[in-house]
Amino acid sequence: MTRPHVAPGAVFALCVVLYLAAAAALTWVATAQPWLGLRLGVVGQSVVVTDIAQGSAMDRDMIGKRLLSVSADNQPAIPVTPLDLIEEPDGIGDQETLRRFFDRQDRLHDALRSGAVTLTFDQADGPESVSVRVQESRPVSDLPMKFWTQIFVAFVGMFIGTWVVCLRPHEQAGWWFLLSGIGLALASSSAAIYSSRELALSLKAYSVACRVNPGGSLLFGIGMVTLFLSYPRRIVPKPVLWLPTLLIGACILLVLGPGWPDKLNNAPDMIAIIMVALLLVIAAQVAANRRDPAARAMLGWLGVSVAVGAGGFVLTSILPTLIGLAPVIEQSTAFLFFLIIYAGIALAVTRYRLFDLANWSYGILFYGLGVALLLGLDAALIYGLSLGRAPAFGIALAAICMVYLPLRDKVWVLLKRNREIPAEELYRRVTQIAHARDPEDKQRLLRKFWSDIFNPLRIKDQPASTTITALQDDGRILTLASIGNLPALSLELAGQGSRLFSSRDLARADAILSLLDASLSQHETYLQAVSAERLRINRDMHDNIGVLLLSALHTGPRERKDLLIRQTLADLRELISNPDQTDWDLRDLLADLRAEIITHFEAAHITVTWQADEITKGRISHRLAHALRAFLREGTSNILRHSGATEAKVQIDLKSDGVQLTLSDNGSGFDSSVASLGNGFRNLRNRFTQLQGAFSYSTGAKGTTLTAFLPLFSTQKEAAAE
């Protein structure tokens, strides 16, 4: 029933439509019967009019009167007995009585069909005859509740059975389960026809319904018994699996065969025996699976619900008849017991993956329900219009536009859940996935994303080696390649199982994947840049800030400590001001230093000459920039504090391979044995030597000159120095 190139959801929806059509056809059959408009009941040993049906032209005086007989014009009267109102004919034990029952029903039906009958009532002053007209058909609204409950039970049986088979077409157990559902549907729907009759049906109708009913019940038995012989574990040799089919099949032939309806009254016995067998088989399954907790738990649900459902039906409806008692509850109500079976199955699927179905399989179930709801809405509309209940066509049209169409649209949208994701939303989601830090979050977002796009029945992880995005299994599965660190996924059946993936879906998935890929690699680049930057800042912190603070910490004199701390702060500020610069523009660097140094000299009232070659371009690394700064600051600080100079000169000469720095004053020189001075110069010399440069100083009574050379434009040398 499911070929690989059809989506199970579509098959399921089609089946649901068929079942609904069948239900509609049955309803039509039930209404296409002659109708008196009386409610008849049994009081003591006689048939009494208990009520007048709504919409009936009958005189309300009839209520409470005992109906003796019915006769068509110029025809002999047909007596009406309590037996004529019996719900289930196969409860009539005696073959002779049964044949007479069918015969009288047929005659009553013929009389009613004639269009006008005379009803004879038993009155205190003798029989009273009333001539009445018989309607050709029965209004739908007059069908009793029991009709609908039995139709409903039939529908549920087919619905759940089809659901399981649609999703697991290769599992035999599912098919046996469906067979039992078909049996239940046949039994229940045929019973719905005759148990809801007003007074009589034709023999033709009985000969169909009273064959289908026991046949269905026995079919249900075949399905259930075989199911439990093979599920969860096969407990008999394979050929034996066909034994119930053979045995019960023979029973079916016997009951429905040429001798019908003589063997009809054997059906309840057979059903009772099958139920006992079913209980035994379930018990055998429990015994066979006692060491398998999962199977045992599954059996707990399924077995108990079947035992209670089918057993309850037999106990309340069939057994009392067998031993000659009135049924405990009406058989039509007893059919509701079967719903227990299906409730048990639904629970077993959620809890124990019965038939290997997981929770996702409910998607398709709800989809089918939605289809049913939609058709129900349409049917209600057509029915409402055909009865002319709408006061005028105009009002009806308005109601359709304002209430019905929007409602139908809502249901349809809910059913499809296949919303188009707008481009900006798509982009936002893709970025969100690419930027998610927590891998689990990422996974969750990714799954949610695909689920929103295609609304698949199921999403599964694929091995990471999956590198191709492709349609598989004729479109049942869309495999998504793994990109970056995102896992490969497979999506099963689009639109909650209602459709297969198309090549258009494939193209869309490809486009989205490349978008994701681009976003992921962008984010990766960004992360790398961030970490490179962090590394650079760390190195700066260590090489400059750390070194400066350490020397400040270990320096004695307060002035020098202050100087070192100020340098640290200045360096820190530069680091913050230029966070994205990996090197310095030499011109800007010298401009900044010029302003800073001159401000200091000005504050100390020292005349300063700044003589520098015009620098057009050139960039220098952080290390070189720091060396340059250290030279000028250290030198300036010495002049300000120790030289007693009145004039100072800064000279910056650009050479072909570097820059020559000279700082001189007209002070009185200094004693290099002063520890703090010596340390400062030693540090400078170390720094410049490390950078392949040079540092030297000369001091005397006429002033001090510091000179240094930095190799600026040889990046190779610089690299070697690092």
Binding site: L572, I576, S577, L590, A591, D592, R594, A595, T599
Partner: protein, 213 residues
């Protein structure tokens, strides 16, 4: 200077600043605050000079700057900062600051700068000058001429960005040093205008429109 407000959250630094200010203006009343909230509560009376730290525990000094713009429009507003990067200095200038001081500067230098500032002689560091020029280059289309730099102003900024002091700029351009200071003040004002223009430009681009102030 009659009433001076100093906003600073580090106790030692506050004491240090108070000493400097006291020696510069012995007659002035000094009130202090260590947070945005306390500073805002002291804006009632007339304030002649305010030293405002940018990074405060409960917010940014820019808030105080804006409050002061309304409460005492004639006050000289100086932003003091330690880590003050160029970007935050430019944003405080465009929010109406008359100048800025770096707290790491030596007391003598700082005191000198403060005196000059309160005399209406602001100075800019080369890197801030460069950033201001960059700002004007990048600003969206400015409707009024008010929001653009004139040739002369650009000249002044260019020289400053090369490391020249105000006096040097003055002699290079053959103008008085106070004229240079005047240009700097105009540039500060235009920075505010262009910032608003830029904000309006962005707002329009985003379809937000500009709220009337």
């Amino acid at each position: 200077m009659k009433r001076i407000l100093i906003v600073e959250d580090i106790v030692e630094t506050l004491r240090w600043l108070v000493e400097i200010v006291q020696s510069a203006y012995p007659a002035a009343t000094i009130c202090t605050a260590n947070s945005v909230r306390t500073a805002l509560s002291k804006l009632d009376g007339q304030i002649d000079l305010a030293l405002i730290d940018l990074g405060l525990p409960d917010g940014s000094g820019l808030e105080i700057l804006r409050g002061l713009n309304k409460a005492s429009p004639s006050a000289i507003k100086v932003v003091t900062t330690v880590m003050g990067d160029d970007a935050s200095i430019v944003s405080s200038l465009s929010a109406g600051a008359d100048g800025y001081l770096l707290k790491e500067t030596e007391a003598a230098v700082l005191s000198r700068q403060l005196t000059q500032l309160s005399m209406g002689l602001p100075a800019i560091s080369p890197s801030v000058a460069r950033r201001i020029m960059e700002h004007f280059r990048l600003t969206g289309p400015v409707a009024s001429l008010d929001g653009r730099l004139t040739e002369r102003e650009t000249e002044v900024l260019t020289l400053i960005s090369k490391g020249l002091r105000n006096a040097e700029v003055a002699s290079a351009l053959n103008i008085a040093e106070t004229t240079v200071a005047g240009y700097i003040k105009i540039v500060y004002r235009k920075l505010g205008i262009s910032s608003r223009a830029e904000a309006a430009w962005h707002a329009n681009r985003l379809g937000l429109g500009l709220k009337p102030e």
